[in-house]
């Protein structure tokens, strides 16, 4: 199909513009899905990073934030055979206090409430960049990202929810969520939230005991659930449904924009070639061959545009990550690129159908008279 190829190639600017349309649509989808996937996997990553064997949370809550595990339940969990440690964790999202420093990516700060004696602190010990871990209720450790953007170095005093804290350490993490936050005594967070219990409990067991402990917890605590940390997002699928809907919406918008762009090009290219199409019919091309040639042109346009879009999407995402290295994450999945490319192809086919049938329905006699 040299004919199709040359037609695209000879009208460089126009072809390039509509390819760009397809590319941008595809790139947008790839970047969006990759970042969304990244957020999702980073929650799983976060949970896994704690080194815990099981995450225990209140059953049937729609969002982990609404989960509570009471102090009494914590004590009972500690007594379950096979359990080595139960680390309490709570969590609050606070407004950022006004400071002289630069603004971080999000105008909020994630406050992770932990207890110095719990095993989960090993995670922060490993990531400690500067200073030491907190021991008292008026000490905090902050992520290095926050420390740098807000000028909260070790030794600084910080006012948070009307209380004064001293920064005693900074930590780094490969988890986006943690880089946007700080860690302080769990009782302080409980008091701030006005809640008696904790959000979740991280249960540590020997590897071989994990499944048995999970079963025991599930039978002994009908109102709690225990899952391995890597499966936490699967447990809260609903929470991500909104994100998925947003992705779908953006995909549809990208599809429409892409189709309109390519449709415009294809219509122009068909109308410019009216006489040519009349000639093709005169020399014996059947309608379906004309249809096929134009569909092929659309598909070729979209395929190349789509491939460029995949590259652009990847590059764009990397660029985003470059500017927000600690607060954004992306996960590249084959499925993401496949769906991006599929959208591109759909754009090509959808946008070519109408012009193709327009071309095929031209009356050869009239097409040849066309000036």
């Amino acid at each position: 199909m040299t004919y199709v190829w040359r037609n695209l190639f000879q009208r460089k600017v126009r072809t390039a513009l509509s390819m760009l349309g397809v590319s941008v649509a595809v790139a947008g989808i790839v970047a969006l899905i990759s970042v969304a996937r990244g957020m999702r996997t980073s929650l799983d990553d976060y949970m896994t990073n704690t080194g815990a064997s099981l995450v225990v949370h209140r059953k049937n809550v729609a969002d982990l934030v609404f989960s509570t595990v009471s102090k009494k339940e914590i004590e009972e969990l500690r007594r379950v055979p096979g359990v080595q440690d139960v680390s309490r964790a709570n969590f609050s999202l606070e407004q950022l206090p006004k400071t002289g420093g630069r603004k971080p990516l999000l105008p909020v700060v994630l406050c992770f409430g932990r207890f110095p004696e719990d095993r989960i602190m090993n995670m922060y010990r490993a990531g400690l960049a500067d200073g030491k871990l907190f021991q008292t209720k008026d000490e905090i450790i902050v992520s290095r990202y926050l420390a740098e953007t807000l000028d909260w170095g070790v030794g600084t005093t910080v006012k948070l929810f009307g209380q004064t804290f001293t920064v005693v350490g900074t930590y780094t993490s490969r988890i986006a969520w943690e880089n946007q936050g700080l860690v302080l005594h769990g009782d302080v967070v409980s008091k701030q939230l006005g809640r008696d219990g904790y959000t979740v409990a991280f249960v540590y067991t020997a590897d071989k005991d994990r499944d048995a402990v999970q079963k025991r917890i599930r039978t002994a605590f009908p109102r709690l659930d225990a899952v391995p940390p890597g499966l936490i997002t699967a447990q809260f699928e609903d929470q991500f449904a909104v994100l998925d809907e947003m992705i779908q919406l953006v995909t549809i918008i990208a599809l429409i924009i892409g189709v309109l762009g390519v449709l415009n090009t294809m219509m122009m290219s068909v109308s410019e070639r009216t006489r040519e199409i009349g000639m093709l019919r005169a020399v014996g091309w059947p309608r379906r061959l004309v249809v096929r040639a134009i569909l092929f042109e659309g598909v070729l346009l979209a395929t190349i545009g789509g491939l460029i879009g995949l590259g652009l999407g990847y590059a764009g995402t990397e660029l985003l990550l470059y500017f927000h290295p600690t607060s954004l994450v992306a996960t590249y999945e084959t499925a993401t690129f496949v769906s991006g490319f599929t959208v591109g192809l759909c754009v090509g086919v959808l946008a070519a159908i109408y012009p193709a049938f327009r071309a095929a329905n031209l009356k050869p006699v009239e097409a040849l008279r066309y000036e």
Binding site: Y3, G278, A282, V283, G284, R287, L289, V365
Partner: protein, 228 residues
């Protein structure tokens, strides 16, 4: 081959019976009841004033358009629906237009290959055939040139090669020299005649130019949609 029982031409390639074509809901009678037999291997010249229906006649003979009334057979095939039109155009007819109508983005050789594409002929075989035809019209060395750089006469010769690609028994030429000066026009006509003789095809030529009607086996003069 068609058998005829009522006429004097025994072996007609094209038969028109009472062919009428009206446009604009009957206000324009482009063809008003034409009966015509065109013998095989003939050179037929069609002349007549502008608007007399010459192009319309070629269009119905060439299965580009259906007549409003009457019947047409080309090489024994009745042209009466879309399928038969597509078949006749592909197998029986070669068109040479006043405008060469070549595809500007393709090379000379690829333009000649165009009618071979729907026949499912392999690329190499197509190329071979195109080179052969370009050789016949004296443009063998231009097979890989873009048609954009070619002169009017050269383009028209390529259009002739294209018309011959499927070895059709009938060549229809609508003022093929209309856009050329008389010397180039004569060259193009020479090529057309040479190919016609070589292949034994029938040529129906529409023209305003008396000089290129010379040697016609049959002269048809049209006036107001009728034969004179």
């Amino acid at each position: 081959m068609s058998k005829r029982t009522d006429g004097d031409v025994l072996d007609a390639l094209v038969e028109l019976r009472g062919v009428t074509k009206v446009f604009e809901g009957g206000r324009v009678h482009a063809l008003a009841g034409i009966d015509l037999d065109i013998p095989r291997r003939a050179f037929v010249a069609v002349t007549g004033p502008s608007g007399s229906g010459k192009t319309t006649l070629l269009n119905v003979i060439g299965a580009m358009d259906l007549p409003t009334a009457g019947s047409i057979r080309v090489d024994g095939v009745a042209v009466d629906d879309r399928a038969s039109m597509e078949r006749v155009r592909a197998d029986k007819i070669g068109f040479v237009f006043q405008m060469h109508n070549l595809i500007p983005v393709l090379t000379a050789g690829q333009n000649v290959e165009v009618p071979l594409v729907p026949r499912g002929i392999k690329r190499t075989a197509r190329r071979e055939r195109a080179t052969e035809l370009l050789d016949l019209v004296g443009l063998a060395d231009r097979a890989d040139s873009s048609v954009r750089g070619l002169s009017g006469g050269e383009r028209q010769r390529i259009a002739i090669a294209r018309a011959m690609a499927n070895e059709p028994p009938l060549i229809l030429a609508d003022e093929p020299t209309g856009n050329l000066d008389s010397k180039t026009g004569a060259e193009v006509m020479a090529v057309l005649h040479e190919l016609r003789e070589r292949t034994g095809a029938t040529l129906i030529l529409v023209t305003h130019d008396e000089s290129i009607c010379k040697g016609a086996d049959l002269r048809v003069r049209m006036c107001d949609g009728r034969l004179e």
